[in-house]
């Protein structure tokens, strides 16, 4: 009959009208500024640099200025200048550090490739998204000081991944410390010139971490 399809349609919209008052599956709107957005742990938006110690952020950056992320970044939004001198990193081993580390967030597309290729867990994806600036150029160009965020913050936004990273790093550092101890003991036992042993904690830019996926995001496989 002419009109039956139209009547059915009117019925469905009426059902949705009523449903929007009581059915959460139908009314999915979040009133964003009033209720903060719920971000999943895996959410990614703009990278940040992990620092070990919040009191001395610039002194304890994990980044060793190896420039891998700068090379891999698809839109070329990372800019790094190596330091001239070396500073001891968390394990006490002298390392280069980024004298300049800038990310142009106007260009960054949050693809996470810099995080995936970083062999030092030094750069991670952030959860911030309210990043409006009044200046299109300098305002969106984040420098080292703005990018550095403490490891506690990383734990706060991505607990699973941060725990996994920390576990791995402590293991590596312990191994390095033991090795150093053993080397020192050996040195004390038989004092003769040896070539410096590369620490495990320093795979170096030439030997990246194996490309196995990180099982942290979204939990582990069943």
């Amino acid at each position: 009959m002419l009109g039956s399809g139209i009547l059915k349609g009117l019925g469905v919209t009426a059902k949705n009208f009523v449903g929007s008052y009581h059915d959460p599956a139908r009314m999915v709107t979040q009133e964003y500024p009033d209720t903060p957005a719920k971000l999943p742990e895996a959410y990614r938006n703009f990278p940040f640099l992990v620092t070990e110690n919040a009191t001395d952020p610039m002194g304890t950056l994990r980044c060793v200025a190896c420039q891998i992320c700068e090379k891999e970044c698809p839109p070329q939004c990372i800019y790094i200048e190596k330091s001239k001198d070396k500073k001891p990193d968390a394990t006490g081993k002298p390392q280069l550090y980024p004298a300049v580390f800038a990310i142009d967030t106007a260009v960054c597309m949050s693809c996470q490739l810099c995080v995936e290729v970083c062999p030092f867990d030094a750069i991670k994806m952030d959860h911030v998204f309210e990043v409006a600036a009044t200046n299109r150029f300098e305002g969106l160009l984040l420098n080292r000081e703005q990018l550095a965020k403490p490891n506690e913050y990383f734990h706060q936004i991505r607990p699973t991944e941060a725990a996994e990273v920390d576990g791995r790093l402590t293991a590596e550092r312990q191994a390095a410390a033991e090795k150093a101890k053993a080397a020192a003991a050996a040195k004390a036992a038989a004092p003769k010139p040896t070539t410096p042993v590369a620490g495990v904690a320093d795979p170096g830019p030439a030997s990246p971490r194996p490309a196995t996926p990180k099982p942290a995001e979204g939990g582990t496989a069943p």
Binding site: M1, L2, G3, I6, G9, L10, V12, T13, A14, N16, F17, G19, S20, Y21, R26, M27, V28, T29, E31
Partner: protein
Amino acid sequence: MSVVATDSFLERAPLLFRDWIVGHFPVALQWLVHHLLTITAILTVFGLFFAFTTIAERKLLARLQNRLGPNRSGLPWFRTLKLWGLTQPFADAIKAITKEDIVPAVADQVLHFLAPVVIVAFSLLGFAVLPFGRYLIPVELDAAILYFFAAGTATELAIFMAGWGSRNKYSLLAAMRALAQLISYELPLILSVVPVVLVTGTLSTRDIALAQGGWTWGVLPHWHVFTPWGFAGFLIFLVAALAESNRSPFDLPEAESELIAGHLTEYSGFKYALFFMAEYFGLTALSGLGITVFLGGWQAPCAFLEFIPSWLWFMGKLAGMIVFFIWIRGTLLRLRIDQLTRLAWQFLVPLALLNLGNAAFWALTSGWTGPLALARWAISAAIVIVPFFLLGRRLTAGYAPRTYRYAA
């Protein structure tokens, strides 16, 4: 019927208020003040009605679509007071007024300016003859129905002015569509009202509303919509009214997915708002006529509800009609121009003509009682239902849901 109920203070309150103000003026000026007050009242009431129709439309459509709708605008300086976003229309008005008015360089300056003025003026004229209450009728005309349609038709002329004057191809197409729509739907619209004129024997809206008074057993009102011919007429009227006021699914002149904004493409700011306003005025006026002619006007649906003032009943019915139109808009898709005209000429006009005969039959057989009354109902219903099926089948011939095969 108790005289108290129908002649209560509330019923007469608007009139008493008007007379009180008029009394302050010298006698020579009283006629002028009288009319100015009436005009002011209509502009204020229906201006506000328009404002809240827009917010109602946005909120209802939002709910139909599982959204919240505008819920932010409150009052200035009272940040915490949100008022469910009900002050949104005032914010919209401020925005529309402060927006830059852009007139294309190649447009016909006069027509481009006149079109929004003309459309608002003509869409307001219709309100003059609507009986909003038992005693509230701005102008009592004997040929009120004729006047109403004459005034309403002129709005389409304004749409054509806008479309032609903008000198934009989309606007031009919209103008042509508007004319085609006007010619096609004016006929069923008028033909759907003629049966009522035939049965009641009057062209006056006041008398038509009065003719629908009274109840069977105090609960079943004698509205025209509750007769077979009245119901058919009301449906035809609804469809034609939707088309006349360019509402979905007949919003072809401003079909935003095809013609960008149709005749409104080159309008911005306050002129755009005027078109918008006129569209709602036209819709409200047509709904008011529909209520007067078919839905008993200001009459209460049951005898015991008569204590509520008649003008409140009218406004309530008007709100109901508007909600129904919004519901339609939230559900249906748009017709194509050839289908639109085909629907008018091949379906609505024949049906309306048959319905005219039906009303004539109804008027002739008003004396039938007892079992004959049942026969009268059956015959009258058959006169509309059978052609509805036959014409409907012809209209949708070749169109049916399909079943599909799958690859082996």
